[in-house]
């Protein structure tokens, strides 16, 4: 392996310092472009990853009831009817809902659980593993606990029922949401308690979750239900995928435009750089050759120079994007993705998720291209007679 030549490295560094203004400009533009490209990729890949994760634990088919165009509770009788459809293997009445806590202007996500009922999401399943709930207590996320405490609800919370009376639930325990930030506002409570809060009757729920034996028949069964029951809304897992993808593709389009602009700007710089050296730069290469540097020595030093600039810019740009997206949560740009979707699932959260292939793509699109753009004109000059270059 070739040893690093620190003398040439020192020369390259001195060269960068000597052309301070020009190199500061290049480093700034390079860093900003890498930061912008990385931001685009970080946000899109993270949101896509989160999107896929959310759909994974959704029921095959969701059936919601509507009365005069307004969403209402579903009845157990509807479930019985649906279970008669050939191809549906199982189904249950789900009790979930969003509770508006106006004092703090937040919405709690209430998830009703019943003993012995199978929970598909492993996160919720894990919380419930060692906890038993009854109709007077609940489990809340750490954030919910904090919010309640701020409103002086330290040990219990009074939910306001549709008739105006209170339903008091004690905080049995709290849980950390870790990476599942969509559960920031989650409250797990007994199904009977949830019925009371939302005014559901014994045989009513928020929606019906259905499982289909043959996943290839999902759309067919969903359209069958739509034909059978025109007053319900049927959402299949495939519909969810499509709506998420539409949302994602639309937002990605905006990002794609940014991406194209960045690449375009970068290549203008590269084109300008590759097009030739200034007379001063040419003269210096001539001097180096005159004092005994061979073509490969000149290129070696130029490689160090380009590598110092490009690696530095890439690293800083990458780190800036990381901080902007995952620590600052992408203010402004991230807003594009941060809207409620059709299914009332909470807003997207930017958990750290890095797809190495995309980072590698940005690296390959920037660092080697810049190094090549530095080496090619230097090589052209270095292969000429030193005398001709210095003239």
């Amino acid at each position: 392996m070739t040893k690093i030549n620190f003398y040439l490295l020192e020369y390259a560094y001195a060269y960068i310092i000597r052309n301070k203004i020009k190199n500061i400009f290049i480093i700034t533009v390079f860093t900003l472009l890498v930061a912008l490209l990385s931001t685009v990729f970080f946000i899109t890949t993270t949101v896509e990853h989160e999107m896929k994760g959310r759909i994974e634990y959704k029921p095959d088919i969701i059936v919601e009831a509507y009365k005069a165009g307004v969403r209402s509770s579903v009845d157990e009788k509807l479930l019985e009817k649906l279970l008669e459809i050939h191809g549906i293997s199982s189904g249950n009445l789900r009790l979930e809902g969003v509770y508006d806590f106006r004092a703090k202007n937040v919405r709690f996500y209430l998830y009703g659980v019943a003993p012995f009922e199978e929970v598909s999401d492993p996160f919720i399943k894990n919380i419930l593993k060692n906890e038993e709930l009854n109709s007077s207590n609940m489990l809340v996320s750490k954030d919910v606990k904090e919010l309640m405490k701020q409103a002086y609800y330290d040990k219990y919370f009074n939910f306001i029922k549709p008739d105006g009376s209170f339903k008091k639930l004690y905080i049995k325990n709290y849980f950390n949401i870790k990476k599942r930030k969509e559960f920031q506002n989650l409250i797990l409570l007994d199904q009977d308690a949830l019925r009371e809060i939302f005014g559901y009757k014994e045989n009513q729920g928020s929606y019906i979750a259905l499982s289909v034996a043959n996943k290839n028949e999902l759309d067919f069964i969903a359209s069958k239900i739509r034909l059978m029951l025109p007053n319900v809304k049927v959402i299949s897992k495939n519909d969810l995928n499509v709506s998420y993808e539409k949302l994602f593709n639309y937002d990605s389009g905006v990002f794609l435009s940014l991406f194209i602009i960045s690449i375009f700007t970068f290549f203008i710089i590269i084109y300008d750089k590759a097009n030739g050296l200034s007379s001063e730069e040419k003269r210096e290469i001539g001097i180096l050759k005159a004092i005994g540097w061979r073509v490969e020595d000149v290129l070696h030093a130029k490689f160090y120079e380009a590598a110092l600039i490009s690696f530095f810019s890439f690293t800083i740009g990458f780190l800036l994007a990381f901080i902007y997206v995952f620590i600052l949560k992408a203010p402004l740009l991230g807003e594009i993705f941060m809207h409620q979707n059709l299914l009332d699932i909470h807003t997207f959260n930017l958990n750290i998720y890095l797809e190495l292939s995309y980072s590698l793509l940005i690296f390959l699109l920037s660092v080697p291209v810049y190094i090549a753009a530095t080496l090619i004109p230097s090589w052209r000059v270095a292969t000429l007679d030193a005398d001709e270059v210095m003239r």
Binding site: N5, Y11, A290, I291, G292, V295, M390
Partner: protein, 218 residues
């Protein structure tokens, strides 16, 4: 030591820089190439150093046909055998005196100890060792010239080429430069100076003066 045989050099657009030049210099000689600007003096230095190739003819330095050597070998030969002092010194202003002097050796990646020893020896020889750590841009003209001479001597070359070495110096510094030449000559270095400075024409150490005009020997 140095033979120039039937050399002509024609640049682009048919500019004739040299026409049928024949010269022969021996080891240890101090030669002055005398002529006005544009007469072809610097082109002769350039051909001897292998910085350019003659259009016609041959340049033989220390038994090697330098004009026929591929660029790679010509450069290595130059590094080991020839030291060049440029008119404008051509130093790197953001490097220290030591680094400028060591610049020809940078690609060799020698150990730190060897490099420091070489630098100290040559800086001491040209009495600039007290400025070793200073950036070249902070030196006076005379000091910069000493650094340029030190750089040209870092490899103890057999041949030293100097292009208008006193063009940017006052009389006192020019005389100091002549003393350096005297010392180098005493060490049997072959020295070729391209100049039109009259100071050199009556010097006792000069062995030969070659007159050039419009690319031809007079």
């Amino acid at each position: 030591m140095i033979t120039i045989e039937n050399v002509s050099k024609i640049y682009e657009e048919d500019i004739i820089a040299l026409e049928n030049i024949n010269l022969n210099f021996n080891e240890g000689e101090l030669i002055v190439l005398k002529g006005v600007s544009g007469s072809g003096k610097s082109t002769i230095l350039s051909l001897i150093a292998g910085l350019s190739k003659p259009t016609v003819g041959e340049v033989i330095v220390d038994g090697k046909k330098i004009s026929k050597l591929p660029d790679h070998f010509a450069t290595s030969f130059r590094r080991d055998n020839i030291g060049i002092v440029f008119q404008k010194y051509n130093l790197i202003p953001t490097l220290s005196v030591t680094d400028n002097v060591l610049l020809p050796l940078f690609p060799l990646n020698l150990s730190h100890e060897i490099m420091q020893e070489k630098a100290y020896r040559v800086l001491k020889k040209f009495t600039i060792e007290h400025k070793a750590a200073i950036m070249v841009r902070n030196l006076s003209g005379g000091e910069q010239q000493r650094v340029a001479i030190a750089r040209a001597n870092i490899n103890d070359p057999k041949i030293i080429l100097a292009d208008e070495p006193t063009a940017n110096l006052d009389e006192k510094l020019s005389l100091e430069f002549i003393e350096i030449l005297r010392e180098l000559k005493s060490k049997k270095r072959t020295i070729i100076i391209a100049t039109h400075d009259p100071l050199f024409f009556d010097l006792d150490i000069v062995d030969k003066i070659v007159l050039i005009e419009h690319g031809k020997l007079l």
